[in-house]
Symmetry: C2
Subunit: 485 residues, 2 copies
């Protein structure tokens, strides 16, 4: 795809990360690039600056750290052979899906070879009797659901972005439907993983698929959320669900954050099997109104969705409406047909871009904490006060049914003072969550920036265990180094 | 509690396991027993033969392998100190809950110290707003649900036996409600674990409780199903559910196994959120009729239970009834009030004893395989044929909503030929499940007898990974040695 020029690569890289480069223990030689080219083919390798830069960053505020080489493997055999080559030469391996991560997970902190897995994009084994499908790592969430359209089944985990499903495995993604259908942790049945030395591991045994097992240690769960630090996921077997007979979405505004979150807690306590319950604060609603040309009241708001039979949905809606009204919520604004629902959820999923549009030219960084649900009103109120005191722009959107929410920080990366203030604010927010027995990340992962917070969250013995687990699978520390632990 | 007499202990132990004793690398000295006594107190230690024998076996057919000493720690500090002492002297540690396991998990294959955790039995932290509770290891499933009675919440995982909840964590137990509420894997939020060297690990961080997290490797899932081979679970934080507004149970007989299982698959495919769907074959129903003085038709039968709102349950029942009728099922025999339901489920839960009553004086061994649900008719039909050909008694009961079923083998342990035939039959059954991409254990665990099958199931790379994980947490191989890997 692009000619290899060692000098050029090294120069570009040294501009990006002079400090890190100096402590490398490997060299990417022309011979090595030739060997990589032989393994994956001429069309599936690049050392062009633009390509490397494109692969050195995700959608977060973390600065670009390009890999030395980008390859597009075609199959698991190629992944295995290239990994084995990297292992021999101590070269970092960075798995890459769609680059839609939010914690710098794809940054090549120590350079190395980026495995762009988008060309391994086959849907391998749809089993409609047993409700599962096996996908290669290039298959995205939307591609899978389009493929499933006529089967009566769907895959519900929806982080908003059209991420690759194996990337979603890697970060333990979740999103709007998790309150009903769980996160990736709950929906992965089996994984095929190439370990850094090239060995292929099937976490639940080759080609196996079952709804439950007690056979040995749970290797599958170990790789869900491992953020590319233990191996390269080359296949995922995922659980599917029947498309609900009826779906209704609604919007409801509240006089206060407390009233919106209290409604959420009560809806869950009543056992209403709500499919989505999303919170947007007044700042976020205002941004969404402007970006999507909508006219929702500028108040703390819940977006809700109900799945079930016709009668079941009606009953859920009635019960939920009673609860929201008792908390001073507005009448529901309905979205019953697909088009209306798409409009509503597009507004929610565009929250990121709506927030960015508040300050054109600025970058975004989405915080991500999760607390016990009863602590949500307190943490959201305190966080809003902190945002005002700190004079920062950070509209709030959250999967409140899980106790999980985000401040979408919009900031000028050239304003060092603002960057510092945002960093301090996000650390305060994470520690506020930790003090409430919560977690510093509900769904985005640890990536680069939260490693210190992970230590505080999990404690010394836990971190030690994680480091030792890392050493088992990746003794040379070449798998996405500098992330998680 | 009992006087310590070293000679007596050694003699009794040598009768039980002369072969294994010879390869021990440690000695239980009178001084060590004194040290243990000092740590846990006079009333919380025993070396009496009867006590040791009682702690050396579970409900399986595996022969008794008593520990050298049994202790009853009172708190996590004691567990830690005793573990540390054992670690220093290379003495095996065997955690013990209620002894209701089915794969020999508590057998002290190499002797050692049995930690009977039943005296750590406090329910520590019921949080009704956030739907969780923290329990010490001596709390059983029924004790917890009795405690929750007035809270409107319950813990649904129900393996039948009144097992300790931390024991259920250790084997990744499930049972009749798993089709709707998941297994232990899905319902453990956090664990406190004492590692063999005495360090205390909180798998999700100390006192933390949240519905989801992406923070680092999933240590909690690693300990669920670890069968006491990685550490001693001293606290579990578990997810709770709202008690359903309405519950209805029903029984339905079918002309064939195929018809019963086809109904199950179709009920799941229609997305009916059934809470329990249990299969009993004609032999099992006959045994249950005799044991419980019931008069169900001696046919393949489903026991079903529906949870939800009044209307929701009615709708579920109607849909399920249509499906069963299309498959030639009988009209539902109803159990709507609590007393009728208890009678019905007591019959199901007594299946084990009903099976044993078929041949008084014999022992039982419950097989446990799980396959993709669509494979259930084939594997059950083949297995019934195998039972007939092999002339073995093995009534079938299964959590068919999960693809999981058991043959309750009833055998005369004094008849070596029969024991051999049962062993060969159970291995054939497990390999039949593996050939259908299933697992050799859905919920009982690997224990002693299925280690070879685990290797076949998970493959060489996976077993190697499990062995290395074991080494991280238990470098001296003193945690329940001889189990799982």
């Amino acid at each position: 795809m692009a000619l290899f020029m060692l000098g050029k690569v090294q120069r570009a890289a040294s501009l990006c990360r002079p400090h890190i480069r100096s402590c490398r223990a490997y060299r990417i030689t022309p011979q090595l690039v030739d060997d990589l080219r032989t393994l994956v083919g001429d069309c599936n390798i690049s050392t062009a600056n633009a390509v490397r830069e494109q692969h050195g960053r995700d959608e977060s505020m973390h600065s670009c750290q390009p890999p030395d080489v980008v390859i597009w493997p075609q199959n698991v055999e190629q992944v295995s052979k290239v990994a084995s080559l990297c292992y021999t030469h101590n070269i970092p391996i960075i798995p890459f899906g769609t680059g839609t991560g939010l914690e710098g997970g794809v940054s090549a902190l120590k350079g190395g070879v980026c495995f762009d897995l988008t060309r391994m994009d086959k849907i391998l084994n749809l089993n409609t009797d047993d409700f599962y499908v096996t996908v290669e790592p290039g298959v995205t969430r939307k591609t899978l659901n389009a493929y499933l359209r006529d089967s009566g089944l769907w895959f519900p985990v929806d982080p908003g972005a059209d991420a690759s499903l194996c990337g979603m495995v890697a970060t333990s993604a979740s999103g709007t439907n998790a309150v009903r259908y769980g996160t990736m942790r709950d929906n992965v049945i089996n994984l095929e993983v190439v370990l850094p030395d090239g060995r292929v591991l099937c976490t639940a045994g080759k080609d196996r698929s079952f709804r439950k097992t007690s056979a040995g240690y749970n290797l599958t769960s170990l790789f869900v959320g491992s953020e590319g630090t233990l191996g390269i996921i080359t296949k995922a077997t995922l659980r599917l669900y029947g498309v609900p007979e009826a779906t209704v979405a609604a919007v409801c505004a509240f006089p206060s954050v407390q009233a919106a979150v209290d409604s959420t807690v009560q809806i869950l306590q009543c056992g209403i099997p709500i499919a989505r319950i999303e919170f947007l604060d007044d700042v976020m609603i205002n941004a969404c109104n402007k970006y999507n040309d909508l006219g929702y009241p500028v108040l703390p708001t819940l977006f809700l969705e109900f799945h079930g039979s016709e009668n079941g949905v009606n009953e859920q809606v009635q019960q939920a409406a009673e609860i929201t009204q008792l908390n001073g919520g507005s009448d529901f604004t309905w979205a019953t047909d697909q088009e209306q629902r798409n409009k509503l959820w597009t507004a929610r999923h565009n929250a990121w871009y709506a927030a960015l549009a508040l300050r054109p030219g600025c970058r975004g960084y989405s915080t991500d904490v999760c607390v016990p649900i009863s602590k949500l009103p307190q943490i959201i109120v305190e966080t809003k006060e902190d945002l005002i005191t700190s004079r920062l722009t950070g509209p709030i959107a959250g999967h409140v049914g899980d106790g999980n929410f985000h401040c979408i920080m919009v900031l000028d990366l050239n304003d060092k003072e603002e960057v510092r203030k945002v960093k301090e604010f996000t650390d305060r927010l994470a520690r506020r969550a930790l003090a409430m027995n919560g977690t510093c990340t509900g769904e985005h992962g640890i990536g680069i920036g939260k490693r210190k917070l992970l230590q505080e969250e999990i404690g010394e013995v836990g971190i030690e265990a994680m480091k030792q687990i890392k050493t088992i699978f990746d003794p040379k520390n070449i798998m996405n180094p500098g992330k998680v632990v």
